[in-house]
Protein backbone atom coordinates (compact mmCIF):
# COMPACT_ATOMS: atom_id res chain seq x y z
CA UNK A 1 0.00 0.00 0.00
CA UNK A 2 1.53 3.31 -1.03
CA UNK A 3 1.21 6.45 1.06
CA UNK A 4 -1.40 7.59 -1.44
CA UNK A 5 -3.86 5.13 0.03
CA UNK A 6 -3.32 6.16 3.63
CA UNK A 7 -6.01 8.25 5.27
CA UNK A 8 -5.14 11.91 4.77
CA UNK A 9 -7.38 13.54 7.32
CA UNK A 10 -9.79 12.73 10.11
CA UNK A 11 -12.51 12.15 7.53
CA UNK A 12 -10.50 9.05 6.48
CA UNK A 13 -10.25 10.25 2.89
CA UNK A 14 -7.14 8.90 1.13
CA UNK A 15 -4.44 11.10 -0.35
CA UNK A 16 -5.19 9.54 -3.75
CA UNK A 17 -8.81 10.64 -3.80
CA UNK A 18 -7.95 14.25 -3.03
CA UNK A 19 -4.85 14.83 -5.11
CA UNK A 20 -6.89 17.43 -7.00
CA UNK A 21 -7.14 19.39 -3.74
CA UNK A 22 -3.36 19.48 -3.30
CA UNK A 23 -3.02 20.58 -6.90
CA UNK A 24 -5.55 23.36 -6.42
CA UNK A 25 -3.81 24.55 -3.25
CA UNK A 26 -0.42 24.52 -4.99
CA UNK A 27 -1.77 26.53 -7.92
CA UNK A 28 -3.27 29.13 -5.58
CA UNK A 29 0.02 29.32 -3.68
CA UNK A 30 1.83 29.88 -6.99
CA UNK A 31 -0.68 32.59 -7.90
CA UNK A 32 0.09 34.32 -4.60
CA UNK A 33 3.87 34.15 -4.74
CA UNK A 34 5.08 33.92 -8.34
CA UNK A 35 3.86 37.15 -9.94
CA UNK A 36 5.83 39.27 -7.49
CA UNK A 37 8.96 37.12 -7.72
CA UNK A 38 8.95 37.01 -11.52
CA UNK A 39 9.67 40.74 -11.59
CA UNK A 40 13.11 40.05 -10.12
CA UNK A 41 14.68 38.15 -13.07
CA UNK A 42 12.80 40.36 -15.54
CA UNK A 43 14.46 43.46 -14.10
CA UNK A 44 17.83 42.11 -15.29
CA UNK A 45 16.62 41.85 -18.89
CA UNK A 46 18.38 43.88 -21.56
CA UNK A 47 15.27 44.37 -23.65
CA UNK A 48 12.74 47.16 -23.49
CA UNK A 49 9.98 44.54 -23.31
CA UNK A 50 10.92 42.77 -20.08
CA UNK A 51 11.08 39.20 -21.34
CA UNK A 52 10.99 36.15 -19.17
CA UNK A 53 13.36 34.40 -19.14
CA UNK A 54 15.51 37.30 -20.37
CA UNK A 55 17.37 36.48 -23.60
CA UNK A 56 20.13 38.86 -22.63
CA UNK A 57 21.03 39.91 -19.13
CA UNK A 58 21.98 43.46 -18.24
CA UNK A 59 22.01 45.99 -15.46
CA UNK A 60 20.82 48.85 -17.64
CA UNK A 61 17.55 49.42 -15.73
CA UNK A 62 19.46 49.53 -12.46
CA UNK A 63 21.87 52.05 -14.00
CA UNK A 64 18.86 54.09 -15.10
CA UNK A 65 17.53 54.01 -11.58
CA UNK A 66 20.73 54.77 -9.70
CA UNK A 67 21.81 57.49 -12.15
CA UNK A 68 18.53 59.37 -12.02
CA UNK A 69 18.57 62.24 -9.54
CA UNK A 70 14.77 62.27 -9.37
CA UNK A 71 14.46 58.57 -8.51
CA UNK A 72 17.27 58.80 -5.97
CA UNK A 73 15.74 61.81 -4.26
CA UNK A 74 12.38 60.01 -4.09
CA UNK A 75 14.04 56.91 -2.64
CA UNK A 76 15.72 58.98 0.07
CA UNK A 77 12.39 60.66 0.90
CA UNK A 78 10.63 57.30 1.16
CA UNK A 79 13.29 55.78 3.41
CA UNK A 80 13.31 58.88 5.62
CA UNK A 81 9.52 58.95 5.85
CA UNK A 82 9.44 55.23 6.66
CA UNK A 83 12.06 55.48 9.39
CA UNK A 84 10.43 58.52 10.98
CA UNK A 85 7.00 56.87 10.79
CA UNK A 86 8.40 53.85 12.64
CA UNK A 87 9.91 56.19 15.24
CA UNK A 88 6.61 58.01 15.78
CA UNK A 89 4.04 55.22 15.43
CA UNK A 90 5.83 52.50 17.41
CA UNK A 91 6.10 54.33 20.76
CA UNK A 92 2.66 55.93 20.41
CA UNK A 93 1.01 52.63 19.50
CA UNK A 94 2.89 50.62 22.12
CA UNK A 95 2.03 53.07 24.91
CA UNK A 96 -1.61 53.15 23.84
CA UNK A 97 -1.84 49.36 23.63
CA UNK A 98 -0.22 48.97 27.07
CA UNK A 99 -2.27 51.72 28.71
CA UNK A 100 -5.57 50.48 27.35
CA UNK A 101 -4.75 46.86 28.11
CA UNK A 102 -3.79 47.50 31.73
CA UNK A 103 -6.21 50.26 32.73
CA UNK A 104 -9.42 48.35 31.85
CA UNK A 105 -11.44 51.55 32.24
CA UNK A 106 -14.86 51.63 30.65
CA UNK A 107 -13.72 53.99 27.88
CA UNK A 108 -10.80 51.78 26.86
CA UNK A 109 -12.83 49.76 24.36
CA UNK A 110 -14.08 52.92 22.68
CA UNK A 111 -10.59 54.45 22.41
CA UNK A 112 -9.34 51.14 21.03
CA UNK A 113 -11.93 51.15 18.26
CA UNK A 114 -11.12 54.77 17.41
CA UNK A 115 -7.43 53.84 17.14
CA UNK A 116 -8.32 50.98 14.77
CA UNK A 117 -10.58 53.03 12.44
CA UNK A 118 -7.80 53.98 9.99
CA UNK A 119 -7.91 50.35 8.80
CA UNK A 120 -11.53 50.46 7.65
CA UNK A 121 -11.88 54.06 6.50
CA UNK A 122 -11.30 54.04 2.71
CA UNK A 123 -7.80 55.38 2.20
CA UNK A 124 -8.91 57.68 -0.63
CA UNK A 125 -11.06 59.52 1.91
CA UNK A 126 -8.10 59.87 4.26
CA UNK A 127 -6.02 61.10 1.32
CA UNK A 128 -8.31 63.92 0.23
CA UNK A 129 -9.25 64.79 3.84
CA UNK A 130 -5.63 65.15 4.92
CA UNK A 131 -4.86 67.06 1.71
CA UNK A 132 -7.69 69.51 2.40
CA UNK A 133 -6.59 70.04 6.01
CA UNK A 134 -2.87 70.29 5.13
CA UNK A 135 -3.47 72.99 2.50
CA UNK A 136 -4.86 75.16 5.29
CA UNK A 137 -2.04 74.54 7.76
CA UNK A 138 0.68 74.59 5.06
CA UNK A 139 1.85 71.01 5.55
CA UNK A 140 1.41 69.88 1.92
CA UNK A 141 4.67 68.63 0.34
CA UNK A 142 6.44 68.55 3.70
CA UNK A 143 8.12 65.57 5.30
CA UNK A 144 6.49 66.39 8.64
CA UNK A 145 3.00 66.23 7.16
CA UNK A 146 3.76 62.98 5.36
CA UNK A 147 5.18 61.34 8.49
CA UNK A 148 2.18 62.41 10.61
CA UNK A 149 -0.32 60.99 8.11
CA UNK A 150 1.64 57.76 7.65
CA UNK A 151 2.03 57.37 11.43
CA UNK A 152 -1.74 57.60 11.78
CA UNK A 153 -2.09 54.79 9.21
CA UNK A 154 0.51 52.70 11.07
CA UNK A 155 -0.78 53.19 14.64
CA UNK A 156 -3.58 50.57 14.33
CA UNK A 157 -1.10 47.91 13.20
CA UNK A 158 1.22 48.65 16.13
CA UNK A 159 -1.70 48.61 18.56
CA UNK A 160 -2.97 45.27 17.21
CA UNK A 161 0.41 43.52 17.23
CA UNK A 162 1.40 44.78 20.69
CA UNK A 163 -2.04 44.09 22.21
CA UNK A 164 -1.97 40.50 21.01
CA UNK A 165 1.51 40.09 22.55
CA UNK A 166 0.27 41.53 25.85
CA UNK A 167 -2.62 39.06 25.85
CA UNK A 168 -0.20 36.15 25.93
CA UNK A 169 2.09 37.85 28.48
CA UNK A 170 1.68 37.10 32.17
CA UNK A 171 1.03 40.50 33.78
CA UNK A 172 1.76 39.01 37.25
CA UNK A 173 5.47 39.32 36.45
CA UNK A 174 5.07 43.08 36.47
CA UNK A 175 3.19 42.83 39.76
CA UNK A 176 6.13 40.92 41.23
CA UNK A 177 8.55 43.62 40.08
CA UNK A 178 6.36 46.29 41.62
CA UNK A 179 5.93 44.47 44.89
CA UNK A 180 9.73 44.35 45.03
CA UNK A 181 9.76 48.12 44.84
CA UNK A 182 9.97 48.96 41.13
CA UNK A 183 7.84 51.85 39.96
CA UNK A 184 5.27 51.24 37.21
CA UNK A 185 7.44 52.79 34.42
CA UNK A 186 10.51 50.88 35.66
CA UNK A 187 8.60 47.62 35.86
CA UNK A 188 7.31 48.18 32.32
CA UNK A 189 10.75 49.04 30.89
CA UNK A 190 12.71 46.30 32.69
CA UNK A 191 10.23 43.44 32.85
CA UNK A 192 7.39 43.80 30.36
CA UNK A 193 9.07 45.51 27.41
CA UNK A 194 11.92 42.98 27.03
CA UNK A 195 9.37 40.19 26.83
CA UNK A 196 7.18 41.82 24.18
CA UNK A 197 10.18 43.05 22.19
CA UNK A 198 9.53 40.76 19.23
CA UNK A 199 6.05 42.27 18.87
CA UNK A 200 7.39 45.83 19.27
CA UNK A 201 10.10 45.22 16.70
CA UNK A 202 7.69 43.56 14.28
CA UNK A 203 5.34 46.50 14.62
CA UNK A 204 8.18 48.97 13.98
CA UNK A 205 8.97 47.13 10.74
CA UNK A 206 5.28 47.10 9.81
CA UNK A 207 5.12 50.84 10.50
CA UNK A 208 8.13 51.44 8.25
CA UNK A 209 6.60 49.34 5.47
CA UNK A 210 3.19 51.00 5.84
CA UNK A 211 4.81 54.31 5.02
CA UNK A 212 7.33 52.97 2.50
CA UNK A 213 4.62 51.17 0.47
CA UNK A 214 1.84 53.74 0.81
CA UNK A 215 0.60 55.33 -2.44
CA UNK A 216 -2.75 57.06 -2.15
CA UNK A 217 -2.15 59.50 0.71
CA UNK A 218 1.36 60.25 -0.58
CA UNK A 219 -0.12 60.98 -3.99
CA UNK A 220 -2.11 63.86 -2.53
CA UNK A 221 0.20 65.31 0.11
CA UNK A 222 3.74 64.64 -1.12
CA UNK A 223 5.37 66.44 -4.00
CA UNK A 224 8.30 68.49 -5.19
CA UNK A 225 11.49 67.63 -3.33
CA UNK A 226 9.50 65.52 -0.91
CA UNK A 227 7.64 63.26 -3.35
CA UNK A 228 7.90 59.61 -2.44
CA UNK A 229 9.12 56.68 -4.48
CA UNK A 230 5.66 55.14 -4.70
CA UNK A 231 4.14 58.42 -5.83
CA UNK A 232 6.63 58.73 -8.68
CA UNK A 233 6.19 55.06 -9.59
CA UNK A 234 2.43 55.46 -9.69
CA UNK A 235 2.66 58.48 -11.98
CA UNK A 236 5.11 56.63 -14.24
CA UNK A 237 2.82 53.56 -14.38
CA UNK A 238 -0.12 55.57 -15.59
CA UNK A 239 1.83 56.68 -18.67
CA UNK A 240 3.69 53.62 -19.94
CA UNK A 241 5.52 50.51 -18.81
CA UNK A 242 9.00 51.76 -17.98
CA UNK A 243 11.35 48.82 -17.26
CA UNK A 244 13.20 50.99 -14.74
CA UNK A 245 10.24 50.33 -12.46
CA UNK A 246 11.05 46.61 -12.52
CA UNK A 247 14.49 47.46 -11.09
CA UNK A 248 12.94 49.73 -8.46
CA UNK A 249 10.39 47.04 -7.60
CA UNK A 250 13.18 44.53 -7.10
CA UNK A 251 15.00 46.93 -4.78
CA UNK A 252 11.76 47.50 -2.83
CA UNK A 253 11.11 43.75 -2.50
CA UNK A 254 14.68 43.31 -1.25
CA UNK A 255 14.36 46.09 1.34
CA UNK A 256 11.01 44.78 2.64
CA UNK A 257 12.14 41.14 2.83
CA UNK A 258 15.41 42.06 4.54
CA UNK A 259 13.61 44.10 7.19
CA UNK A 260 11.12 41.34 7.94
CA UNK A 261 13.88 38.72 8.19
CA UNK A 262 15.99 41.02 10.37
CA UNK A 263 13.16 41.72 12.82
CA UNK A 264 12.39 38.02 13.09
CA UNK A 265 16.05 37.10 13.63
CA UNK A 266 16.57 39.82 16.26
CA UNK A 267 13.37 38.89 18.06
CA UNK A 268 14.26 35.19 18.12
CA UNK A 269 17.78 35.69 19.46
CA UNK A 270 16.46 38.09 22.12
CA UNK A 271 13.71 35.74 23.17
CA UNK A 272 16.08 32.85 23.89
CA UNK A 273 17.87 34.54 26.76
Amino acid sequence: MSWLDHPASDTQITHRSRIWLYLAAAIVMGFLVLPTLIVVPMSFSASQYLEFPPRQWSLRWYENYFNSAAWMQATVTSVKAGALTALVATPLGTLAAYGLFVSRLRGAGLVMSVLLTPIVVPVILVGIGVFYAYVRIKLVNTLTGLVLAHSMLAVPLVVMVVTSALKSYDMNQEMVARSLGASRPRAFLLVTLPQIRLAVMTSAVLAFLTSFDEVVVAMFISGGDNSTLTRNMFNALRDQIDPTIAAISTVMIAISSLLILLSQALGRSGGRR
Binding site: S9, V114, T117, V121, P122, F131, L209, D213, T230
Partner: protein
Protein backbone atom coordinates in the same frame (compact mmCIF):
# COMPACT_ATOMS: atom_id res chain seq x y z
CA UNK B 1 -5.35 43.16 44.74
CA UNK B 2 -7.32 45.82 46.57
CA UNK B 3 -8.76 44.79 49.94
CA UNK B 4 -12.51 45.38 49.94
CA UNK B 5 -12.79 46.30 53.61
CA UNK B 6 -10.64 47.87 56.31
CA UNK B 7 -9.79 51.41 57.24
CA UNK B 8 -7.71 52.10 54.15
CA UNK B 9 -10.11 50.60 51.64
CA UNK B 10 -11.42 53.91 50.30
CA UNK B 11 -7.97 55.43 49.96
CA UNK B 12 -6.62 52.31 48.23
CA UNK B 13 -9.51 52.23 45.83
CA UNK B 14 -8.96 55.87 45.03
CA UNK B 15 -5.26 55.22 44.39
CA UNK B 16 -6.08 52.27 42.14
CA UNK B 17 -8.54 54.35 40.16
CA UNK B 18 -6.05 57.23 39.86
CA UNK B 19 -3.47 54.82 38.50
CA UNK B 20 -5.88 53.33 36.01
CA UNK B 21 -6.75 56.83 34.78
CA UNK B 22 -3.03 57.63 34.43
CA UNK B 23 -2.51 54.42 32.44
CA UNK B 24 -5.49 55.28 30.29
CA UNK B 25 -3.76 58.59 29.61
CA UNK B 26 -0.95 56.71 27.84
CA UNK B 27 -3.32 56.23 24.90
CA UNK B 28 -3.91 59.97 24.50
CA UNK B 29 -0.93 60.78 22.20
CA UNK B 30 -2.03 58.10 19.73
CA UNK B 31 -5.63 59.22 20.06
CA UNK B 32 -4.59 62.81 19.40
CA UNK B 33 -2.68 61.78 16.26
CA UNK B 34 -5.61 59.81 14.86
CA UNK B 35 -8.03 62.63 15.73
CA UNK B 36 -5.96 65.37 14.11
CA UNK B 37 -4.92 63.52 10.95
CA UNK B 38 -8.03 61.45 10.33
CA UNK B 39 -11.16 62.25 12.29
CA UNK B 40 -11.03 66.05 11.93
CA UNK B 41 -10.25 65.92 8.17
CA UNK B 42 -13.04 63.40 7.54
CA UNK B 43 -15.54 65.43 9.58
CA UNK B 44 -14.41 68.48 7.62
CA UNK B 45 -15.17 66.68 4.34
CA UNK B 46 -18.57 65.70 5.76
CA UNK B 47 -19.21 69.41 6.37
CA UNK B 48 -17.99 70.36 2.87
CA UNK B 49 -20.39 67.89 1.28
CA UNK B 50 -23.31 69.98 2.55
CA UNK B 51 -22.02 73.30 1.19
CA UNK B 52 -22.94 74.74 -2.20
CA UNK B 53 -20.32 76.59 -4.29
CA UNK B 54 -21.29 79.90 -2.68
CA UNK B 55 -20.79 78.50 0.82
CA UNK B 56 -24.43 78.12 1.82
CA UNK B 57 -25.99 74.94 3.15
CA UNK B 58 -27.38 72.73 0.42
CA UNK B 59 -28.00 69.14 -0.52
CA UNK B 60 -27.11 69.68 -4.16
CA UNK B 61 -24.09 67.35 -4.11
CA UNK B 62 -26.22 64.51 -2.78
CA UNK B 63 -29.05 65.36 -5.17
CA UNK B 64 -26.59 65.08 -8.05
CA UNK B 65 -25.46 61.67 -6.80
CA UNK B 66 -29.03 60.46 -7.12
CA UNK B 67 -30.02 62.28 -10.30
CA UNK B 68 -26.97 61.67 -12.47
CA UNK B 69 -27.03 58.20 -13.94
CA UNK B 70 -23.22 58.10 -14.14
CA UNK B 71 -22.94 57.97 -10.34
CA UNK B 72 -25.41 55.10 -10.15
CA UNK B 73 -23.31 53.22 -12.71
CA UNK B 74 -20.13 53.82 -10.71
CA UNK B 75 -21.68 52.52 -7.51
CA UNK B 76 -23.12 49.48 -9.31
CA UNK B 77 -19.73 48.75 -10.92
CA UNK B 78 -17.98 49.11 -7.56
CA UNK B 79 -20.36 46.69 -5.87
CA UNK B 80 -20.21 44.20 -8.75
CA UNK B 81 -16.42 44.20 -8.96
CA UNK B 82 -16.08 43.91 -5.18
CA UNK B 83 -18.60 41.06 -5.01
CA UNK B 84 -16.95 39.13 -7.87
CA UNK B 85 -13.48 39.67 -6.40
CA UNK B 86 -14.70 38.45 -2.99
CA UNK B 87 -16.30 35.39 -4.61
CA UNK B 88 -13.11 34.49 -6.49
CA UNK B 89 -11.11 34.98 -3.28
CA UNK B 90 -13.39 32.48 -1.54
CA UNK B 91 -13.04 29.96 -4.38
CA UNK B 92 -9.24 30.23 -4.39
CA UNK B 93 -8.65 30.80 -0.70
CA UNK B 94 -10.79 28.06 0.80
CA UNK B 95 -8.93 25.06 -0.66
CA UNK B 96 -5.52 26.55 0.24
CA UNK B 97 -6.56 27.41 3.81
CA UNK B 98 -8.10 23.93 4.14
CA UNK B 99 -4.96 22.10 3.02
CA UNK B 100 -2.78 24.37 5.17
CA UNK B 101 -4.93 23.74 8.24
CA UNK B 102 -4.18 20.02 7.97
CA UNK B 103 -0.44 20.28 7.42
CA UNK B 104 1.98 19.73 10.28
CA UNK B 105 2.55 23.11 11.99
CA UNK B 106 6.12 23.51 10.72
CA UNK B 107 5.19 23.07 7.04
CA UNK B 108 2.06 25.17 7.56
CA UNK B 109 4.12 28.07 8.88
CA UNK B 110 6.35 27.78 5.79
CA UNK B 111 3.24 28.11 3.63
CA UNK B 112 2.21 31.03 5.83
CA UNK B 113 5.32 32.89 4.67
CA UNK B 114 4.02 32.52 1.12
CA UNK B 115 0.61 33.82 2.13
CA UNK B 116 2.09 36.71 4.10
CA UNK B 117 4.72 37.69 1.52
CA UNK B 118 2.26 39.91 -0.33
CA UNK B 119 1.73 41.79 2.95
CA UNK B 120 5.24 43.12 2.88
CA UNK B 121 5.50 43.82 -0.83
CA UNK B 122 4.02 47.08 -1.99
CA UNK B 123 0.62 47.04 -3.68
CA UNK B 124 2.26 49.10 -6.39
CA UNK B 125 5.00 46.53 -7.00
CA UNK B 126 2.44 43.76 -7.31
CA UNK B 127 0.19 45.82 -9.55
CA UNK B 128 3.20 46.56 -11.75
CA UNK B 129 4.04 42.85 -11.88
CA UNK B 130 0.55 42.07 -13.15
CA UNK B 131 0.74 44.87 -15.68
CA UNK B 132 3.91 43.31 -17.10
CA UNK B 133 2.53 39.76 -17.03
CA UNK B 134 -0.88 40.52 -18.51
CA UNK B 135 -0.07 42.99 -21.29
CA UNK B 136 -0.50 42.06 -24.97
CA UNK B 137 3.12 40.95 -25.45
CA UNK B 138 3.29 39.86 -21.81
CA UNK B 139 4.29 36.52 -20.36
CA UNK B 140 0.77 35.08 -20.01
CA UNK B 141 -0.23 35.94 -23.58
CA UNK B 142 3.02 34.81 -25.19
CA UNK B 143 3.02 31.48 -23.32
CA UNK B 144 -0.68 30.95 -23.93
CA UNK B 145 -0.17 31.38 -27.66
CA UNK B 146 3.01 29.27 -27.73
CA UNK B 147 1.21 26.44 -25.92
CA UNK B 148 -1.71 26.79 -28.34
CA UNK B 149 -4.24 27.65 -25.67
CA UNK B 150 -5.42 30.70 -27.62
CA UNK B 151 -4.42 32.27 -30.99
CA UNK B 152 -4.84 36.01 -30.56
CA UNK B 153 -3.46 37.96 -27.59
CA UNK B 154 -6.26 38.21 -25.03
CA UNK B 155 -7.20 41.58 -23.59
CA UNK B 156 -6.20 40.78 -20.01
CA UNK B 157 -5.30 44.23 -18.82
CA UNK B 158 -6.59 47.81 -19.06
CA UNK B 159 -10.06 46.46 -18.42
CA UNK B 160 -12.19 44.74 -15.78
CA UNK B 161 -10.30 41.43 -16.15
CA UNK B 162 -6.99 42.95 -15.15
CA UNK B 163 -8.59 44.88 -12.29
CA UNK B 164 -10.19 41.71 -10.92
CA UNK B 165 -6.98 39.67 -11.18
CA UNK B 166 -5.00 42.37 -9.38
CA UNK B 167 -7.63 42.85 -6.67
CA UNK B 168 -7.96 39.12 -5.98
CA UNK B 169 -4.18 38.83 -5.70
CA UNK B 170 -4.05 41.66 -3.17
CA UNK B 171 -7.06 40.58 -1.11
CA UNK B 172 -6.47 36.81 -0.95
CA UNK B 173 -4.27 36.91 2.21
CA UNK B 174 -6.99 38.90 4.01
CA UNK B 175 -9.37 36.01 3.37
CA UNK B 176 -6.93 33.19 4.09
CA UNK B 177 -5.69 34.49 7.48
CA UNK B 178 -8.98 34.53 9.43
CA UNK B 179 -10.19 31.43 7.57
CA UNK B 180 -7.04 29.47 8.40
CA UNK B 181 -7.25 30.60 12.04
CA UNK B 182 -10.81 29.38 12.41
CA UNK B 183 -10.08 26.08 10.61
CA UNK B 184 -7.16 25.38 12.94
CA UNK B 185 -9.45 25.96 15.90
CA UNK B 186 -12.00 23.34 14.78
CA UNK B 187 -12.00 20.32 17.08
CA UNK B 188 -10.89 17.38 14.93
CA UNK B 189 -12.69 14.89 17.15
CA UNK B 190 -15.94 15.93 15.46
CA UNK B 191 -14.58 14.64 12.16
CA UNK B 192 -13.36 11.42 13.73
CA UNK B 193 -16.80 10.98 15.26
CA UNK B 194 -18.44 11.60 11.88
CA UNK B 195 -16.17 9.03 10.19
CA UNK B 196 -16.79 6.61 13.03
CA UNK B 197 -20.53 6.94 12.58
CA UNK B 198 -20.16 6.01 8.93
CA UNK B 199 -20.16 9.40 7.18
CA UNK B 200 -18.30 9.40 3.86
CA UNK B 201 -15.39 11.91 3.66
CA UNK B 202 -17.49 14.18 1.45
CA UNK B 203 -20.42 14.07 3.82
CA UNK B 204 -18.25 14.63 6.90
CA UNK B 205 -16.73 17.67 5.19
CA UNK B 206 -20.00 19.30 4.14
CA UNK B 207 -22.03 18.46 7.23
CA UNK B 208 -19.40 18.90 9.93
CA UNK B 209 -16.29 20.78 8.83
CA UNK B 210 -17.74 23.33 6.42
CA UNK B 211 -20.42 24.70 8.81
CA UNK B 212 -17.79 25.03 11.55
CA UNK B 213 -15.50 27.01 9.22
CA UNK B 214 -18.29 29.42 8.21
CA UNK B 215 -17.59 32.12 10.87
CA UNK B 216 -14.00 32.45 9.65
CA UNK B 217 -15.13 32.42 6.03
CA UNK B 218 -17.73 35.12 6.68
CA UNK B 219 -15.29 37.31 8.60
CA UNK B 220 -12.70 36.96 5.82
CA UNK B 221 -15.19 37.65 3.01
CA UNK B 222 -16.49 40.67 4.87
CA UNK B 223 -13.11 42.33 5.26
CA UNK B 224 -12.26 41.53 1.62
CA UNK B 225 -15.52 43.02 0.37
CA UNK B 226 -15.18 46.18 2.47
CA UNK B 227 -11.57 46.79 1.48
CA UNK B 228 -12.48 46.16 -2.20
CA UNK B 229 -15.11 48.92 -2.09
CA UNK B 230 -12.37 51.50 -1.43
CA UNK B 231 -9.81 50.25 -4.00
CA UNK B 232 -8.04 52.96 -5.93
CA UNK B 233 -4.59 51.95 -7.20
CA UNK B 234 -5.47 48.66 -8.89
CA UNK B 235 -8.40 49.93 -10.98
CA UNK B 236 -6.39 53.04 -11.87
CA UNK B 237 -3.39 51.05 -13.19
CA UNK B 238 -4.79 47.68 -14.32
CA UNK B 239 -8.12 49.17 -15.40
CA UNK B 240 -6.28 51.63 -17.63
CA UNK B 241 -8.78 54.42 -16.96
CA UNK B 242 -11.70 52.32 -18.23
CA UNK B 243 -12.65 50.90 -14.85
CA UNK B 244 -13.99 53.69 -12.64
CA UNK B 245 -14.73 52.66 -9.07
CA UNK B 246 -15.97 55.09 -6.43
CA UNK B 247 -12.47 55.91 -5.18
CA UNK B 248 -11.25 56.68 -8.73
CA UNK B 249 -14.17 59.02 -9.27
CA UNK B 250 -13.39 60.79 -5.98
CA UNK B 251 -9.78 61.31 -7.06
CA UNK B 252 -10.92 62.55 -10.50
CA UNK B 253 -13.33 65.01 -8.90
CA UNK B 254 -10.41 66.49 -6.95
CA UNK B 255 -7.58 66.26 -9.49
CA UNK B 256 -9.46 67.17 -12.66
CA UNK B 257 -12.56 69.09 -11.59
CA UNK B 258 -11.40 70.55 -8.22
CA UNK B 259 -14.92 69.81 -7.03
CA UNK B 260 -14.50 69.29 -3.30
CA UNK B 261 -18.21 69.18 -2.60
CA UNK B 262 -18.89 66.38 -5.07
CA UNK B 263 -15.83 64.39 -3.97
CA UNK B 264 -16.77 64.79 -0.31
CA UNK B 265 -20.35 63.69 -0.87
CA UNK B 266 -19.12 60.57 -2.70
CA UNK B 267 -16.65 59.91 0.09
CA UNK B 268 -19.33 60.29 2.76
CA UNK B 269 -21.57 57.81 0.94
CA UNK B 270 -18.69 55.35 0.57
CA UNK B 271 -17.83 55.66 4.26
CA UNK B 272 -21.49 55.32 5.27
CA UNK B 273 -21.88 52.16 3.17
CA UNK B 274 -18.73 50.70 4.76
CA UNK B 275 -20.01 51.54 8.24
CA UNK B 276 -23.46 50.08 7.56
CA UNK B 277 -21.99 46.83 6.23
CA UNK B 278 -19.64 46.58 9.21
CA UNK B 279 -22.49 47.30 11.62
CA UNK B 280 -24.93 44.82 10.11
CA UNK B 281 -22.26 42.17 9.73
CA UNK B 282 -21.01 42.85 13.25
CA UNK B 283 -24.28 41.40 14.50
CA UNK B 284 -23.70 38.24 12.46
CA UNK B 285 -20.01 37.51 13.04
CA UNK B 286 -17.61 38.41 15.78
CA UNK B 287 -15.70 41.35 14.36
CA UNK B 288 -12.54 40.75 16.34
CA UNK B 289 -12.03 37.72 14.11
CA UNK B 290 -11.43 40.11 11.23
CA UNK B 291 -8.12 41.20 12.63
CA UNK B 292 -7.66 38.60 15.35
CA UNK B 293 -6.68 35.87 12.91
CA UNK B 294 -3.31 37.43 12.14
CA UNK B 295 -0.98 35.63 14.50
CA UNK B 296 -1.17 31.90 13.82
Amino acid sequence: MTPETGPNATALRRDALAERVALFGLSLPALLLVTVTMIIPVVWLFWLSFLADDGTFSLEHYRRLIEQASYGRIFRATFEISAIATFICVLLGYPLAYVMSQLPPRIASLCMIGVLMPFWTSILVRTYAWLVLLQRQGLINSWGIRLGLWDEPLALVHNVNGTLIGMVHIMLPFLILPLYGSMRAIDRDYLKAAANLGASPTRAFWQVFFPLSLPGLLAGSLIVFILCLGFYVTPAVLGGGKVIMVANRIANDIEIFFNWGAASALGVVLLALTAIILFVAGRLVRLDRLFGGHAP
